[in-house]
Amino acid sequence: MKKLVFALATGLLLLGCQKDDGLTSASRNVVSENSSIAFEDLLMLISLKTAGGDYLVVESVDSINVFINNGHWAKISSSPFDTTNVDKFALGNRTLTDDKLNYLVLADQDIREPDFTEAGEYAQFLNASYDLDAGEYVCFIESFQVTFNDNTTQTYYPLLYQTFKVETNTRSAFVGEIELNID
């Protein structure tokens, strides 16, 4: 019996050691020579304000197309949001609230990873990832999508610029609270 318990405990320990590092094979094989902390993501809080002064309630804001300076940074969705406890009301195919409702957006740099069978694809991958050094940058929100109660989807183009600052050796930067107007 003791032996069985011991074997099980050992097995559990070994299983616990097999961690998924969450990296793609390409990222795992690429070594960075930069010893400073790599910049990873932008943080922003966005709210969707209607023409009537209310705020749209959705589970997430999708396909937010973000550019930094002139380069494409990511096309991401906001973190999923449980709207159960939001004081809200329905209007047409929309759910709205009187209070300002922020959606959290964590925007990692989105680098398209090809199949990696040719040298040129690796070269493209190495050159595509760029680190943000300390300094001022402009974040451009080109477009985003929302899905309404009747499952219809609408794309909006706020074309909004927002400046933000990256400090030395930081992993992320807060772009700010951004209010996006929708019709």
Partner: protein
């Protein structure tokens, strides 16, 4: 008699040795926007750093290094943007005796990372 025998063996060995003609190998980096370095053909170091468009010098491959003809893959480290990856070509490149082989690595060269 014994001396003559040894001499003939030495002569034969010398003749065989002198018949071996080393091949020459060089590498050209035609991959866009990356530097490659530590370039090897099999286990033989062919070149240090090569910038885009640069070609290495011709490296003579002597019998002590390889019994030509031999075929080997080319391995190298590719670096750009302070990031580096180790790659091997899928294709093997054959070098004959007395041949000058120019291996051109470009964007379309099939490569793999042994870790995949």
């Amino acid at each position: 008699m014994k001396t003559r025998y040894i001499l003939s063996i030495l002569c034969a060995a010398f003749l065989l040795q002198s018949c071996y003609k080393p091949g020459k190998i060089q590498i050209q980096n035609n991959i866009n926007s990356v530097e490659i370095y530590d370039v090897q053909w099999g286990d033989i170091d062919v070149s240090g750093s090569l910038f885009p468009g640069e070609t290495s010098g011709k490296l003579k491959v002597y019998k002590s290094e390889a019994e030509l003809p031999e075929s080997h893959i080319v391995s190298f480290k590719m670096t750009a943007n302070q990031k580096t990856v180790f790659l091997k070509t899928v294709e093997k490149y054959k070098l004959e005796q007395d041949e000058e082989l120019l291996i051109i690595l470009d964007d379309a060269t099939a490569v793999e990372n042994p870790n995949n």
